[in-house]
């Protein structure tokens, strides 16, 4: 996964119903880009059956020392 380009951000924001101009799109790309890069090793690797609710299941489990 790579960071989105300003052009892609403009398109995503427009679809979201909150269009941004080119300057803002560039700023967003620079700002949020590191998060995409930091998550790149995880993106696209998760198993099929994994649901977000797995968090609650793990949280509720008794983790013994």
């Amino acid at each position: 996964m790579t960071r989105p380009t300003p052009k892609e951000i403009s398109a995503i924001a427009a679809v979201a119903g909150v269009p941004v101009n080119a300057e803002v799109a560039t700023r967003i790309a620079n700002s949020i880009g590191p998060a995409f890069e930091g998550f790149a090793a995880i993106a696209g690797t998760l198993p099929f059956d994994l649901e977000p609710a797995a968090f609650v299941v793990v949280q509720a489990g008794k983790a013994s020392k």
């Binding site: 995503i12 949020i32 977000p52 020392k65």
Partner: protein, 470 residues
């Protein structure tokens, strides 16, 4: 007993009022007197309700005289971050958009403290919509650090940190989505508890991120945090995410021995690139804990940068979704920096957001496996003490996110994992600025953190230091 009631701890003043050694009026007037002195310098309060507070204090005293004790905090004056709804009160959320918003309901956390008998002093400043880690607020001005007026308080619970440190309120509610309780605790020298996601109901608290938001106290001691947590924790029909299990006796937990407990210090990330004084205070804190009988071992944690990145993705999307209507209708009413941060969430595809949410379970499981041999992990809250207000006033500059990333580097991974973390004052820099360490625990095991923190505070006095009015 101290001659100035405002200098007492929450626990002590509650007992003194119950035993009629101090009246609620005396305690309330003492807080208001200090507020009159400090507020022009700190800007910690959003609203001061002196007349109403004194009337409520008189009513509490009258009740007590008749033998009607309302609860554990009967007559104790408190003020909270201005994002906890109280019916009939303006709740600004630190924003222009909600400058005149009058709540029609009362948040569960606040109601539980009211049910325990508290008196309302007013409301406390905060970052706009709790979306900023420094304490700057473009609409209401920055909150100042009582240990150095040119320095930031940290945010987003900026007023809570500043007011508790200056002894203007005995404690205050904050909220922690990316570090917003622990950072003000660190920068202002007070004790702050970020609770496990689900430990305290969030009903009636302004939302920022439904997956990450937590309610918690900032107070003068671990003992005070334990008392407040015990009053607020537990199931709530108005918030189905609040867990339904029994609430431990957190106050009892603070009395336990820590001999033979094991604390892990991370081998990387939390010990990298620390300011030298912060590093020395981390070492000194571990030395104190060792003297108290704790085993300190090294722990190798999973990649914390990935957790931080996932936290950013989740937070950005959920915050943007909450604010979408105002982003369309009232973008001009946000400060540039908060608008910028909210716009970040527009750039993240739904699939990416859901991947970040789906990874949360395995990430937590991996963390728990890594810390299986320890009772808690210790780490600095931030790599530095409080920067100045000027140097961290990044506005909408391209560097803003980098500054924010540095400040929140050690807090965000914990929010992503939903874990509890207790920030305890652990020392001061040579220039007199406070530094805190955080004790990170397992899900819903706040009791162990409180036990360790209370033992630390029994043999140190960093939490008892009071800033002087210049």
């Amino acid at each position: 007993m101290t001659t100035e009631p405002a200098l007492m701890s929450l626990t002590s003043v509650a007992q003194a009022i119950a035993q009629k050694q101090v009246s609620s009026r005396e305690a309330t007037q003492s807080c208001l007197d200090r507020t009159a002195q400090w507020q022009p310098r700190l800007n910690a309060f959003m609203a001061i309700e002196a007349e109403a507070a004194l009337a409520a204090a008189d009513a509490a005293d009258a009740d007590l005289a008749k033998g009607n004790n309302r609860g554990t905090l009967h007559g104790v004056p408190l003020a909270h971050k201005d994002m906890y709804y109280e019916a009939g009160k303006v709740v600004t959320c630190g924003s222009r958009i909600r400058r005149d918003f009058v709540a029609t309901t009362t948040s569960t956390a606040l109601q539980r403290l009211k049910d325990a008998g508290t008196v309302r002093l007013g409301s406390l400043q905060m970052a706009e919509f709790a979306y900023g880690p420094t304490g700057h607020n473009a609409h209401y001005g920055p909150v100042h650090n009582p240990w150095g007026l040119d320095h930031i308080t940290g945010g987003s619970s900026s007023g809570s940190g500043s007011a508790v440190a200056a002894r203007l309120t005995f404690a205050a509610l904050g909220s922690d989505t990316g570090g917003s309780i622990r950072m003000p605790a660190h920068f202002c020298g007070v004790t702050g508890l970020k609770t496990t996601v689900g430990r305290i109901s969030r009903a009636g608290a302004m939302p920022l991120s439904q997956s990450l938001d937590t309610v918690g106290p900032l107070a003068r001691s671990v003992e005070d945090c334990a008392l407040l947590l015990g009053l607020m924790a537990g199931a709530d029909p108005d918030d189905p995410t609040a867990v339904t299990g029994p609430v431990p006796d957190y106050s009892v937990a603070t009395t336990g021995s820590i001999k033979d407990l094991t604390i892990g210090v991370p081998t990387a990330f939390y010990v990298d690139d620390l300011d030298s004084e912060v590093a020395a205070i981390l070492d000194a804190t571990m030395a104190v804990l060792k003297r108290e009988g704790v085993n300190v071992v090294q722990v190798e944690l999973p990649d914390q940068r990935q957790l931080s990145a996932a936290c950013q993705l989740v937070l950005a999307v959920e915050a943007a979704a909450f604010h979408k209507r105002w982003l369309i209708e009232r973008p001009q009413d946000y400060s540039p920096q908060v608008l910028m941060r909210l716009q970040n969430g527009l750039a993240i595809p739904g699939v990416t957001y859901l991947e970040a949410m789906r990874w949360r379970g395995p990430a937590l499981a991996a963390h728990l496996a890594a810390v299986a041999g320890v009772d808690a992990v210790i780490a600095p809250v931030a790599p530095v003490a409080a920067p100045t207000i000027a140097e961290s006033d990044v506005g909408n500059s391209p560097d803003a996110e980098a500054v924010i990333q540095r400040l929140t580097r050690f807090t965000r991974p914990i929010n992503y994992l939903g874990l509890p973390s207790l920030a305890i004052p652990s020392g001061f820099t040579r220039s007199g600025l406070p530094v805190a360490m955080q004790l990170i625990g397992r899900s819903f095991d706040e009791a162990t953190l409180l036990r360790i923190g209370a033992a630390f505070q029994r043999v140190t006095d960093f939490h008892d230091q009071v800033p002087k009015l210049a």
